[in-house]
Symmetry: C2
Subunit: 451 residues, 2 copies
């Protein structure tokens, strides 16, 4: 609330708190500028705005302007232009700046995570549960093929062609399984295909893929650590994920009416949006607490509330909240990417580049084949479904991050995985646009959310 | 994004990150439940909802349920029920929980600060600049009297009646000068008097009071530290605060049109709300950077954008964002208060209680007299203006916190200041209601924001 004057300076850590707020405010200004400039330019060039937001993030991030860098990616406070500005403004010691940098980065990361939670809640609110149930089996098959094909092809290829040892090969294979619900759904929504049959299969498969992906990650990380798989944990994860999703959808049918009754009785400000966020954040907490992803809980909450007759009013109020929080997530994902690992002039990057080319081919083919696993749907756009599963986005980055932290991956393989994640994420929106280029019947095309 | 399984546990600090998110989500659920239950009950009993949100915060905070406690107030991780839940869920070591507790508390504090920034931005949007200019001189006089009267009476009284040494007496006197813009404006807005002449004088005086208060704080903290006042810093603070407020209002008249032009050109989602928040957060950053309070910048940004013809549309979109962020601020202020210092059974509390009674009398009388400093306004509600200046709220808590950190205050005086801040904050809404009990003409009464 109050600023620290130089004359008030003491060594107490909480004394830095006002500068953390200063840093967070300046970072948010940078994030919003990057997302708006990127999004608008992207739209002018007829790309989806989310691609521009990611590129905006890359430009302000570790690859170029160094306005938004993170300690997890190995940056120190002096790498951050914003911290340099703060140091100048506040006449701070290097130790103070290091402490402020850590706190500020953590605050922005939490805001980005709240952003992706709100994004999935909004997507849940916009998804029609009955439509999703119709494509449930199809989505499950697409997800299983989309996890198995790239995992097996990637792991086997790395072991036989590149003589990568088993543990890192399995880790890289696991990183190939991810599908980013966030990016795919945003692009689908921007193209107006979120509620098409293809869109529902992709989103459904991405949700199931996330559940499968997290199980694969748990198993692989356990392999990397102990050399053996914990069967009980594996069974626990599979069961809890299934029970959570199906259970919340079934219980939701009863909870619906209580929600409307409660919201109707409230009289003070936020009478609709606060109960909705209590529910969404509680579901996200619950998912996290049983070792699933928070975004799954938020998505389930959105699906449940979509069934109430408050749906439209709620959607209207969630939009500005999402507008403020979601760009923090996309810009942060872009900013955390370091494109310098792509530079072929540096000799150490070459091994990684060759591995990357192989991983990218597997990443694309391994997901594109999933479109042909869809059955009994004559006339469905199989290419669009396969292409829609391609972006790894934030989920792929989590795999790469945990792989790096576990020490199982050497630098070239780590770089190759990151390049694969970047390219699949950046290629997916134009590819998806291309795959959907034939006009769909107006009945399956939803209203464009991007006004 | 992804959860940490016990099998992934390493000693790396970033490994705790998923549990920080889990903690933040659970804390937000608790905060929203407390604010809604408190606000609704308060409204049922015909009190302003914000009082209920504060009491809800007190109940979930350090005084009662220990769901929401903060390390700055001396709490450790094991004091927090939420951390105990996380420890159970994640099977965490005490060291891990301590680290998570610190990160989670910092994230909630940043969200609370963003909450008060958005609150002041919204209040700026709702305040009419021309009306505020009409009451400018009046507000300035009210503010100066409201700073000088309690400061002089408090400091002199403590020195002569209680033989308190000069430095702690001056510090306690300074804590008496604060006026909480946040609480006062929220109550005025709830009562429908924000745009009345009394409301505008109170808000204007509270803004000026904040500027004066921060200068007093800087001077007193410098006194406490070095024993002498830094004249250059004092002049710098006075000049920068005046230039910032007047300058932003004048520049705003030119910036207005550019803002509308830019917002009209944008095509992607958040085309109005993102530019508005870029401006608000930049102004808040700027205020912070020149050693003023961030909330002053946000308030100035709101005043400027209120002059544009996008005002209504923007207001509509800011409301749900404020609904989500502002309760975090009010519940946190309540939660940080420890009512156990009020317990008269504990002998150590008695000296503090006597000092507290003296400070409360000065706090109320010193602000009530300000109403009679208003000139040339026949028929104005002088009592309401004086009473509107009473709540110290978060600003008073900042004074108490910095005083405690500087070591200038002994425990009884520190407790007395905290009790004064609590009581003035809790008494002001019912007193303000009472002072405004005679009906105002409908022309000055604005539409009730609490639908």
């Amino acid at each position: 609330m109050v600023n620290l004057f130089p004359l008030l300076a003491t060594t107490h850590e909480s004394e830095y708190a006002p500068f953390v707020l200063t840093g967070v405010l300046l970072t948010l200004v940078v994030i919003y500028l990057a997302s708006k400039l990127g999004g608008e330019l992207s739209r002018m060039m007829d790309f989806p705005p989310v691609l521009g937001e990611l590129v905006g993030g890359v430009i302000v991030g570790a690859s170029a302007l160094h306005l938004l860098v993170f300690p997890e990616s190995g940056a120190v406070a002096s790498d951050s232009i914003i911290m340099t500005v703060l140091q100048f403004i506040g006449n701070l010691t290097p130790e103070a700046v290091t402490s402020i940098f850590a706190s500020q980065s953590e605050a922005i990361s939490i805001l980005a995570e709240l952003g992706v939670i709100v994004l999935l809640f909004e997507i849940g609110l916009e998804s029609d549960l009955r439509e999703l149930q119709k494509v449930g089996y199809q989505a499950a098959i697409v997800a299983v093929v989309g996890v198995a094909a790239p995992f097996l092809a990637g792991t086997a290829g790395l072991m036989f062609f590149f003589h990568v040892p088993v543990i890192p090969a399995v880790f890289a294979g696991a990183a190939l399984t991810a599908t980013s619900i966030g990016i795919t759904s945003k692009v689908l929504s921007e193209l107006g295909y979120l509620k098409s049959k293809e869109g529902q299969i992709i989103v459904g498969a991405a949700v199931i893929d996330d559940v499968l992906g997290i199980i694969v990650l748990a198993v692989v990380a356990s392999l990397a650590k102990t050399g053996e798989v914990d069967v009980f944990n594996l069974i626990y994860l599979i069961v809890s994920a299934s029970v959570f999703l199906l259970g919340s959808i079934c219980l939701g049918k009863f909870f619906n009416k209580s929600f409307v009754t409660i919201a109707d009785k409230l009289q003070t400000r936020g009478k609709l949006v606060i109960p909705a966020f209590i529910f969404a954040f509680f579901m996200a907490f619950l998912a996290n607490a049983i070792h699933l992803e928070a975004i799954l809980g938020a998505f389930a909450a959105g699906l449940v509330l979509d069934e109430t007759d408050k749906r439209k009013e709620l959607d209207q109020q969630v939009i500005p909240i999402a507008d403020i929080l979601v760009p923090i997530f996309f810009v942060t994902v872009g900013a955390k990417v370091d494109l310098s690992v792509l530079n072929p002039v540096v000799p150490e990057n070459r091994e990684g580049l060759i591995l990357a080319v192989f991983l990218i081919i597997i990443a694309i083919l391994g997901k594109v084949v999933t479109g042909w696993s869809v059955f009994a749907q004559p006339g469905i756009n199989r290419l669009a479904i396969g292409v829609g599963m391609i972006p790894r986005g934030e989920v792929g980055l989590v795999f790469a991050g945990i792989g790096a932290a576990s020490g199982a991956l050497d630098k070239p393989l780590q770089a190759a995985i990151i390049i694969m994640v970047i390219l699949t994420t950046f290629l997916a929106p134009p590819l998806l646009r291309f795959a959907f280029k034939e006009p769909v019947p107006e009945v399956t095309k939803e209203v464009d959310l991007v006004s």
